[in-house]
Symmetry: C2
Subunit: 640 residues, 2 copies
Amino acid sequence: MSTCLHPVPLTQVTLSDTFWAPRQEATRSVTLPIEIKHLRDTGRIDAFRLDWRPGMPDPPHVFWDSDVAKWVEAAAYSLATHPDPALAADLAEVIALIAGAQQPDGYLNVHFTVVEPEKRWTNLRDWHELYCAGHLIEAALAHQEATGDNTLLAALSRYADYIGQEFGHGEGQKRGYPGHEELELALVKLYRHTGERRYLDLAQYFVDERGRQPHYYDQEAQARGDDPAAWHGRDYRYLQAHLPVREQDTAEGHAVRAMYLYSGMVDVAAETGDESLLEAARRLWRNVTQRRMYVTGGIGSASQGERFTWDYHLPNYCAYTETCAAIGLVFWAQRLLQVEPRGEYADVMERALYNGVLSGISLAGDRFFYVNPLGLDYHAYRDEMDRYGRSSVVPERQDWFGCACCPPNIARLLTSLGNYAYSTSEDGLFVHLHIAGTAQAEFSGQRVRLQVDTDYPWGEDVTITVQPEAEAEFALALRLPGWCRQPRVTVNGEMVSLEDIIRDGYAYLRRAWRAGDTVRLTLPMPVERIYAHPEVREDAGRVALQRGPLVYCLEEADNGANLEAVRLPREAEIRPEWRPDLLGGVMVLRGMGRRQEANAGSNDLYLSNPPAEAPVSLMAVPYYAWANRVPGDMLVWIRE
Amino acid sequence: MSTCLHPVPLTQVTLSDTFWAPRQEATRSVTLPIEIKHLRDTGRIDAFRLDWRPGMPDPPHVFWDSDVAKWVEAAAYSLATHPDPALAADLAEVIALIAGAQQPDGYLNVHFTVVEPEKRWTNLRDWHELYCAGHLIEAALAHQEATGDNTLLAALSRYADYIGQEFGHGEGQKRGYPGHEELELALVKLYRHTGERRYLDLAQYFVDERGRQPHYYDQEAQARGDDPAAWHGRDYRYLQAHLPVREQDTAEGHAVRAMYLYSGMVDVAAETGDESLLEAARRLWRNVTQRRMYVTGGIGSASQGERFTWDYHLPNYCAYTETCAAIGLVFWAQRLLQVEPRGEYADVMERALYNGVLSGISLAGDRFFYVNPLGLDYHAYRDEMDRYGRSSVVPERQDWFGCACCPPNIARLLTSLGNYAYSTSEDGLFVHLHIAGTAQAEFSGQRVRLQVDTDYPWGEDVTITVQPEAEAEFALALRLPGWCRQPRVTVNGEMVSLEDIIRDGYAYLRRAWRAGDTVRLTLPMPVERIYAHPEVREDAGRVALQRGPLVYCLEEADNGANLEAVRLPREAEIRPEWRPDLLGGVMVLRGMGRRQEANAGSNDLYLSNPPAEAPVSLMAVPYYAWANRVPGDMLVWIRE
């Protein structure tokens, strides 16, 4: 079986489960309309009319184009699987505006057309010119695939061609590359769609040129008359340009930038067969997932620079863990998974999706987190906000952000989730995510339909009915999640011995499949106690709770304030309980913990005896669902 | 026995112990020469020549006068107990310069004489005009008492008189008060020295006027053409001016300011008998010591605003706990102690002195802490410094600071420490601090000499030889430290039953004392495990170690990095061990703890089993001595 996979496109996948399908519906009916309203209200849509003139207020910002582009992409994915005339009308209007903003030479960027036209391509390091181009290309591809309308894609192809003329090693070309990566992966997508090799070459050039000496950002700064050292002492880690990418061993700098670069590296490597590039991506993957990733799949420990810090530095209360970074981790994991179907990629993809990504949007789909900390002292946060009107981490969901990257980013991931569930290889069909619904796949000339019935992530059983058009031999590769210790599989009721057919986290069921063959995958989901590596200082002596793919947390709404006063002894039994009434229907975890009691009769701040403890009934809710009730304290890592 | 005490002046006290006496000597021989050099090098001394002119660099800053004043005060105290011709010469030069800077009308402030003369008294809120005046008065009093030379005191008395004309309720007077308190307590000192009631009245006015409506800082801002709300939204908590002082129940704002105000409140109340003012001070005392004080006696939890935060909010790693604030707590405690000799005041005074104050200066006397956190992740600190060149908390001792309040402040406390050890009342003599040496006291016409022999704080025994000039009946009141569970006292070898003679933490030994009578106080010093109130989130599940008055910490130098991986089980035996070779001679604490071990053979960041633990020999050193070796991690509150 070849290990080069291709995602089953979202148009061939339906999700009909009770977990994701309602989120997709909320994205269509609530999130996307809210977002287009914010985009309109803040002038981001009208900006494409190019009628801003010097002296007018609110000049279009350098990253506005990308906010609109991500919305277009999300809306296109949604329309591809669910008709919505109002959404289609909004989308058509936006598409026309964007395409109309293209300049005669192919250039397409609002800010550098109307605000600072003389500064085109003069500061790739700080501004988001090439980043916006990447998002517009992704939007155009999504729009073309959803609607068949080629308007935007034609415009963006021209723009990509223009960029290809401007950048490269040729005479008269700039040797620059994106300060905020994104265009790299978009160009590979464009190549895959069009078959035009020049787009892949351009992506490869951007990836290869990054971080080389003499350093383009030095030269570019000097050309502007700036001192390169004035920029953070030339610490180019922030944008992963401190070294050529093949020499990078650790994930550094702005986490979202890093994820988009690493995704682009995998894309380029997958298409060019460049093993050294793929190996660099694998090394970075190990660094992120074995040293710098929260148990929620959140990444980026520090708010200052929205960045990775160092190995095992995973503070909880001040965790930055930007929603976009977890989304980027999903993108990267999915790409690695297509290159080599290893469970570790799918496990991380699932961890981020069900936890650190999904926490970024409210259950109703109307409010957002930019950051996703793993603990909250609500009093401390409120005090900071009340005194200073700001906080480096804002753990209350917001309607919108001045830097509005996260809301449309989560929308485009949720509306394209079908893309992440299945892949085909030359002679097989992979199931990566267990979501009730259907998939229609083609590979090696075979057409196979899968019908998946499951209550995952709440229930343990996944029933897959296989419907090949005609009887055919192929491998059905089922992901056995890393969190599951004893998976079981039956085919047509007969137990399958997994021993010989498991490879890298997938069970390969190879046989001649006939219509109606039924596979039953059972994934026992006892409540798991999770412990962090001993070098993770903030988690020492603490336990996190997980059941299936879901990480849990304690909230003040259920357990009172000051969750540090609570501990969950190792021997405490924890049992799941289905609560259809709560948070849209969740499995909560219940158990008896111990809570420090106030010292009756003493006002002493320091005592000779430890505070007395009393039994306390604790209830944990899935992390993704936190902060959907009254604001209050929250904690993932509980003292044990 | 009257409960109104008077400190035995430092000139009547000698310290000859191995703990404090060497620190006083280091202050004289190392700290004061270093500080005057820094004061000279930074232009602070020459500034008093008043030859700065507009357009010249380095205009004298609004608080420079106070840095010099505190050095003068420290030098004067040192000279009062130890001759030092070089120091005396430096002091004489500085005194002449300061006195020479006085203006014909009595005004004495460098900045507002040469830099912004038109702005005199226009911004009491932000600038440090009256604060500097207070420190200059304290310096003048110390200088006069040390040398008998009246030059500076005459100048400052004139300045105080001038201030008294400018401020008050009278016609043409400003209704202002210090933005940074200090002058209040200085004026009471001046009153006590001179007997001039007008200084007490002025102090009382400043205390009483504070925080009243209409708010002076509003009016003052408006007079300058500023919007009062532009200043932190008029949140006058920062400078304890949010309410009249008698209505303040919680310690708010800048911790040093608060300590100086509260000290001044006690001073005024002590002299005026104002019970409502004293009760306010007691209320604030309870709030600080029962809710907002670290176990080291450090106060001020937040770096932003160098301020108190809220009850039980005592984060360790980012604790601000400015050295000056702990010093201020000593000032305040000592003042309350003179009003009512209660052990709780002396206990806090001792806690701050031996821990959170003394940590502020290196063992050699040459380097300083502005802040005194209770934990350090050295890697995190270095990363912040390397990336951004700054850190809100700098846990590495520095030569000097741009805002140089702490170094001369700790010098003046160390050189005047004799002032804090003994008090007289109408018919008795109090021993507050157990320090080897002598005291010569006069009360009710009696002259009594005490000879104290002890190894405190390392040893448990304190032997006091009483030498009255003639046999006399009086009470010798010995403080029984709050940390000591079973103190014992003998007089001339006979055990004294303490039951009937203990009141509020003091043992009152009343008898007809004869020359040579010997009191032996035994203060058993087992290692104590200290626990924090259950509402202190950061200390939950943790233990601090204390022996006698000393709080201990783990340092990387002795225990390796990542001290969060270490725990000290409740049953672990901890034994003291005298280490004459270490840190100038310290009692270390040793015991077997447990340390999380790295997972052999696994790179997993998250695990199903808790990290294995192995026994580890732990060694704790006194907190005051930390950061005197190689930089590294440190921890006070250890996981239990």
